[in-house]
């Protein structure tokens, strides 16, 4: 955690953490109006990192991340062009996985383009080329959807732009199909929270 410079700043950060845990967007909005937005963004992301680590370690339920994401939505979206796109892979018509992944990316303040569901590899690549994206987040439902990931990689190689972006896969559990671990992706996980945290850390690096 970032150490506080003065008791007042420490109190604001404590209030922010409490509001994120309780899912209180209005409280967060009030804190933002009180000033020091940059410090609050840093404090928010530091705390979200801690929450995500605890969730991935199994000591925090997902509902707490949901609540934190809702409260964090009080932070204004960054005035930046998208750096990532997110969509459910071709064949995956279920919106839930995509919805949660977008929620977690937005929680971190990552400017992300929503591509929807059942997204073809061509549509993913088209978004990368048009917007010069640095991250593609592909949401799977079953291991069978992984063909879309391989195709995105192949198309990007053919266009000579594969090195320009990171390909992140989340959704279907690698334990269901070990072949997922050999996907030509930069990060593979079955948990959207891990994918969003990875994108955030890579973006900030």
């Amino acid at each position: 955690m970032i150490p506080a410079c003065d008791p007042g700043q420490s109190a604001v950060k404590d209030q922010l953490q409490d509001a994120l845990l309780r899912g209180e967007r209005s409280t967060v909005a009030a804190l933002l109006e009180s000033g020091a937005p940059d410090a609050l963004v840093r404090a928010k992301n530091s705390f979200l990192n801690d929450l995500t680590d605890r969730y991935l370690a199994g000591s925090l339920p997902f509902c707490q991340l949901t609540a934190a994401a809702q409260a964090a939505s009080a932070f204004p979206a960054p005035d930046l062009p998208p750096v990532a796109c997110c969509g459910a892979a071709q064949g995956n018509t279920s919106a839930a996985g995509r919805d949660y992944t977008l929620m977690l990316l937005s929680m971190w303040g990552v400017p992300v383009l929503d591509l929807g569901v059942d997204v073809s590899p061509e549509a993913f690549l088209s978004a990368v080329l048009e917007h010069r994206l640095r991250f593609v987040v592909c949401v799977l439902f079953t291991p069978g959807d992984a063909e879309c990931v391989r195709r995105i990689h192949e198309l990007a190689e053919e266009h000579g732009c594969r090195k320009d972006f990171s390909l992140v896969v989340c959704g279907a559990s690698p334990s269901e199909d070990r072949s997922l671990l050999s996907l030509p992706a930069d990060f593979v996980t079955h948990r959207a929270a891990a994918a969003a945290q990875w994108v955030m850390n890579a973006w900030k690096r």
């Binding site: 339920p61 997902f62 609540a67 018509t93 919805d99």
Partner: protein, 201 residues
């Protein structure tokens, strides 16, 4: 039973169970976010009532098997996605789980209706086959094609993803003996004491 039997929404009254849904969400009273979830529960239930169109169908594939389709329609998932777009994540996540809970309730109710209808032919359910385990995708697709006149908007992808998402499908095998390894069959009240599956369950 007819070739296709449709069970309308009247057969599936909504019975949202807040404690069960919160248990699925792991949102206990000890969690700091419990208050935020409890505050929007009624709204989520209202949205479910407004958008869910619970219906079921049984397709008599053959003398000894039936395929069952249960669906809430497309609108609940669309409503949940709209909530996520508005960053009302808590209500959206409750609605998602409410839909799943309703589907499970429908499963139990549909099974009772099925048993009632089968009893008229002195038939019982002897086994249940599940997608992804022993109910092939090709068979599901074939059944959905036959159900299209009454359920036009339901499909299964080549990877087994059903659409609308808040739907489920399974197959039951029929028998003139009420027995087998069906999870809903209670061996303790079954007269077939020499049944192979009695000790397996």
């Amino acid at each position: 039973m007819e070739k296709i039997t449709v069970y309308s929404g009247d057969c599936f009254p909504l019975r949202p169970d807040r404690e069960e849904v919160f248990r699925w969400l792991q949102c206990s009273a000890e969690q700091p976010c419990y208050g935020a979830f409890a505050a929007v529960w009624d709204r989520a239930v209202a949205l479910l009532s407004e958008t869910a169109e619970p219906r079921a169908a049984a397709l008599r594939e053959a003398e000894d098997r039936l395929s069952i389709l249960l669906t809430l329609g497309q609108r609940p998932e669309e409503a949940a996605t709209r909530l996520f777009y508005k960053q009302d994540y808590i209500t959206g996540s409750i609605l998602n789980v409410l839909c799943d809970e309703l589907l499970f309730q429908m499963d139990g109710l549909a099974f009772e209706l099925l048993k009632r209808d089968l009893a008229r032919e002195r038939l019982s359910v002897s086994a249940r086959e599940e997608p992804g385990i022993d109910y092939p995708i090709e068979d599901q697709q074939s059944c959905l094609a036959q159900l299209r006149p009454v359920f036009p908007g339901v499909s299964i992808s080549e990877h087994g993803i059903i659409s609308p998402a808040k739907s489920m499908m399974y197959r039951v095998m029929l028998s003139h003996r009420d027995c087998g390894h069906v999870s809903l069959h209670d061996c303790s009240v079954c007269p077939q004491t020499d049944c192979l599956y009695r000790h397996v369950k």
